[in-house]
Structures are given as C-alpha cells and as structure tokens.
C-alpha cells in the first residue's frame, strides 16, 4: 500500500446513511472530470464509489446510519507507481474489520439478487485494495488510470485584484 503525507485536495465525509450517497457520487463525478476522466468514466467511478459506500454501510456498519465515512479524492501523477496519471479514491470507515482476502466478487453465472457490488467495483476501477486500519475499520483504495493526454497543467489559482 502506497501512502503520501500530503493532504488529498478534496475530502468528503458523510454519515453512513444511504440518503447521502448521492452527495458523495456528485462530488466524485465532478472531481473525476476535473482530473481528466471523460463523462462516462466519471459516472462509472461514481457508481464504483457508491457500491463501496453501500458495502461499508451494510457490512462494515451493519446498517447503522450515523457513523462516519471519509472519502479522499486525489489525482496521482506519473511516477514510480505507474507511467500514467491516475485517479485515486480512499474510503475509510470505523466499522467491523474483515479479512481483505474474504471480499471477493461472486460467480455471475448464478442468477440471484445481490452480490454484484465488488464485481462492479473491479470492472470500473483498475486497482482496488482493502486493508484493516488500526483497531477499528477498513480502508479501501481504488485507482483508475487517466489517459495521459487528459488534464492540462492547471497552475495555482491566480489572484485577482
């Protein structure tokens, strides 16, 4: 797991109630287009985030709806981690801890309601990793490559007088 000390440029914290999922998706989509993803990919990332948050609410917090979930958004520049820029989302909860290797997509050939979330997340994102954090809760890191042409050098905000 890579980690950097710099604060992510955007962080969203929601309580673990399904009604706030739409706010997190909306921020995610906007961050994604800003970072250089096209509209369809940005929507897909919003979906992957929604699935991850739904799992935190249902499994991590067992349906409790007033627990915190932190979501960090960042754009990682090309470097040792990869030759292309990438969008990175980190989701931190303070719920039940599970063995990351136990979180797997199910066989899609079986027709049954549910069990699609992890499959959707893996289809949309390029990399996705869970780990336990401290004494309580999990951190999920998901990344998606950004086509290298996308995103121009946007300097710091200019001061207007």
């Amino acid at each position: 797991m890579t980690s950097r000390s710099a604060a992510a440029p955007v962080m969203v914290r929601i309580l673990s109630d399904p009604k706030y999922l739409c706010v997190a998706r909306s921020a995610a989509e906007r961050f994604c287009t800003l970072a250089g993803l096209d509209a369809a990919s940005s929507h897909a990332v919003g979906l992957a985030l929604d699935e991850a948050l739904a799992n935190v609410i249902r499994h991590g917090y067992e349906g409790r709806c007033n627990q915190p979930i932190h979501i960090e958004f960042d754009r990682v520049e090309p470097g040792p981690e990869g030759p292309d820029p990438a969008l990175r989302i980190r989701i931190r909860d303070y719920g039940c801890q599970v063995d990351a290797s136990a979180i797997n997509p199910r066989d899609l050939d079986e027709l049954r309601p549910g069990g699609l979330g992890v499959h959707i997340m893996r289809s949309v994102m390029d990399e996705i990793r869970w780990r336990r954090r401290g004494l309580t809760g999990m951190e999920l890191e998901m990344t998606k490559r950004i086509a290298p042409s996308a995103g121009s050098a946007g300097g710091c905000g200019q001061e207007r007088s």
């Binding site: 739409c22 929507h43 979906l47 739904a54 309601p113 979330g117 959707i120």
Partner: protein, 121 residues
Amino acid sequence: MSSYDSSAISQVRALRTPGGVQAVVVTLQGEVDLQHSPAVRQQLIDEAGKRPGRLVVDLSAVNYMDSSGVASLVETLQRVRGYGGELILVNPTARVRSIFEIARLDRIFRILTDLGEAMGE
C-alpha cells in the same frame, strides 16, 4: 434526526395487450440507489404478487441505478418467472444499461427500447 426529501419513484398502470395479455407497466424515475431501492423493490414485489401475465418496467426516466436497484429487478424477475409470467425492461439510458452489461445481466433480462413494442403481441 433530520428529514430529507425522498423523491417519488414510480407510477403504475394496468393495461391489456392487443393479444389480451394482462399487463402492468411500472414507471420508475430518479435515482434507484440504496436509498430508494427498498421502496422500488417493495413496489415491484407487490405488483408481481398480483401475477400479471406481463410486468413491464419503464426505466427511461431512471438517471441512476446501482447494484441494489439491479438486485430488486433480479428478485422480481425470479418471482415473475416463478409463476410463468414475463418481465420486460423498457428503454434504459446508456448509463443504466451499462450496469446490466457489467453484471452480465443484459442477456438474462429482456430489454426493449420501446414501450409500444413491450405492449405488442
């Protein structure tokens, strides 16, 4: 606890096809995510409980759906098949359609692009 707006998400019409099949058209709208899918699921299960020959779900006004919405439709499909009926999904947007494709359910569900077609036969 605060109270927040929860958009109405469906409308139901009972019809009969030209061939005389009893059909129910449920029109969903808005965002069918974990917040709204429990109500959608209940509505669909209720309609399936009346055992119409054809249950048509119009998705044209659904601008967002996640796996909880898809799960509601899978459960409905199983119930409708269980009594020998037919479930038809109509006119999902490209984005909603893509989630069926990701879940490889686009070949399991009958998905038509036109409500008229769904009401044909």
